[in-house]
Symmetry: C2
Subunit: 355 residues, 2 copies
């Protein structure tokens, strides 16, 4: 198992020269400059990740990481906690949204038990990296120990590296865990430095009363635990979750192995904040797949300097937005590889400078 | 050839019952209600088009319709007019963005010469429905005769029906024509009832001076020709374009044959305004693929009551946004067909009413 510190030390930033070359290529393809908008920007970003001006996304895998959250005992969710276990079985049987969307874009789904509150009698396709049977309630002390936080992240790094060793060239992270938008709001508030109220939403669908209670729980948990915003592992341990740590690890492992990690929505975004705090260079390897309806997500992305590819009004998690973004990324790379240039196709250029 | 009036008389609105059933199904799938955002809304819309609660998009074709515009002689575009012909050849050789993106989503591209200003010595794959060698300048009289306007629309209806007869079950429309954002702005201003300045943008990339000139040209063309905003064919004839008429025809033909027509961006959107004015029920069959950067597009969509699926900062045309939306539509239908229900998967429901 690679140590977290060794992984972080091995991450180098994106290839600036490949990005420049990809941008130059975009500018001579048979279309007005910039007219493919985010497709162009995404292709250039991926050129930097893969270190070539004609990148290809290739084989794709979504890590859907599940865990339970002790904070559900404070009444912060619309769904009972046993739904986490039930949904892991749904993933295993191929009936959840992420299964459908991953099939649609040709990606594999790897379901990981990072800390579901049940015994480990899973179907064989579920990868068990259980760090504990759910976190403790952050309202009553740290969600996990410092050692547990390290173990989550290390598990994520290991899974990312295993996937790359198997030939996967693009990773995605998604989440399942009743109560985990509470943890994500806490992490986002601390690391992005925003008031809890601004980064807390309705999750799976709570009413105003529960939303107010959720905000109070998070505020008092942050006060009581005082996580250090500059220390990603400390924030993860005190107010995070096992699946958040696992996803942060996948990002670090992906960045170490120079493959892009497609970050799904709000909970995955809080993992990106943890990873970005631990290893700022890892941000180069993140792709912000979509903008979640959860209000904290825009703050998380802004803190990381990331622009979301899609904006479809989604708020499901699981990696669903990342799966759809995989397809857009494929398309963006094919533009670079397959389109004709003005010169090659005998098409006249614009008479306007720079257009 | 089907007469326009017979086609319009044969269009019936979307199937309200299939839409209701699809919505009910969305609400019992294993996810919080509404959490897939626009994917859910799109699947319900397509259920109404296909008349079934489990629709499938099936075989897809993009009509990329090209024509020239006499108004280019007023200096409204950044590119020389011969680029229209050059780009048709680029489409025919598979080197344009629409070729790449259509291949990516498994759609066929049909390139149609609706009125390119050149002889007809095209490669065999180009479909020739040339109504004229470019329109006349709307600044100096009507862009085309009333008879020419009818012929464009009839050609589009015929092409749509031929495609459905061949087994295509989803159509898209896209445009190529130097100068055609000028025509689209004029059509949008007239039908949506918005000031020219608000619906006129930089097209392929003109500077401020040319933008001001473009606005003046459109304003005086509308004043001189006084098109009737309630008469789509009249607007098309006076300030439209041959490819805009062809695309309006594809919409009418698609609606008549009950298949969705994915409308691309701003110029296609002006065709949607023409079709919607001629046949309000045809709007049920339109899918607004994406939101163009061109400022008039949002006004056109608002007038039609359509919400765009994607928002990727694109402004290329050709059908590129529609191709990407095809893939999202496929995904949205698979959600309805392939996801497990709460009951089927043994997943507990929310404790909150209506979530």
């Amino acid at each position: 198992m690679r140590r977290i510190e060794d992984c972080i030390a091995g991450v180098v930033g994106a290839d600036a020269r490949a990005k420049e070359e990809a941008q130059r290529l975009q500018d001579i393809l048979t279309k007005p400059q910039g007219s493919l908008g985010k497709l162009e920007a995404l292709s250039v970003r991926l050129a930097g990740v893969y270190g070539t001006s004609k990148p290809s996304v290739g084989r794709k895998v979504v890590f859907t990481m599940a865990a339970d959250h002790g904070v559900t005992q404070e009444g912060v969710s619309a769904y009972p906690a046993e739904v986490t276990r039930q949904m892991v079985l749904n993933f295993a049987h191929g009936g959840a949204a992420i299964n459908v969307l991953a099939r649609h874009v040709g990606a594999e789904v790897r379901v990981v038990d990072m800390g579901v509150s049940c015994d480990e009698d899973w179907p064989t396709c579920v990868i068990c990296r259980k760090v504990g049977k759910g976190t403790r309630s952050m309202a009553r002390g740290p969600a996990m120990t410092a050692d547990e936080a390290r173990r989550c992240v290390e598990a994520g790094i290991e899974l990312a590296e295993m996937a790359v060793d198997e030939g996967f060239t693009a990773l995605a992270i998604g989440d399942m865990g009743i109560g985990n938008t509470t943890a994500a709001s806490a992490v986002t508030s601390v690391i992005a430095g925003k008031p809890v109220r601004d980064v807390t939403g309705r999750g799976t669908g709570i009413d105003d009363t529960k939303l107010n209670a959720k905000v109070s729980v998070i505020e008092s948990a942050i006060r009581a635990n005082s996580p250090d915003p500059r220390d990603g592992l400390d924030v993860l341990a005190k107010v995070g979750g096992f699946e958040i740590g696992g996803m942060a690890g996948v990002i670090l492992g992906g960045a170490f192995r120079k493959v892009p990690v497609f970050v799904d929505g709000f909970v995955s975004g809080s993992a990106a904040l943890v990873a970005g705090t631990m290893c700022p260079k890892s941000v180069d390897y993140m792709v912000a797949s979509h903008l979640s309806v959860e209000p904290g997500h825009a703050h998380a992305l802004a803190h990381l300097g990331l622009v979301p590819v899609l904006d479809l009004g989604m708020r499901l998690g699981e990696g669903t937005g990342a799966a759809l973004a995989f397809s857009v990324a494929d398309a963006s790379c094919k533009i670079l590889s397959e389109m004709a240039t003005f010169e090659g196709a005998g098409v006249s250029r614009s008479s306007e400078k720079g257009s």
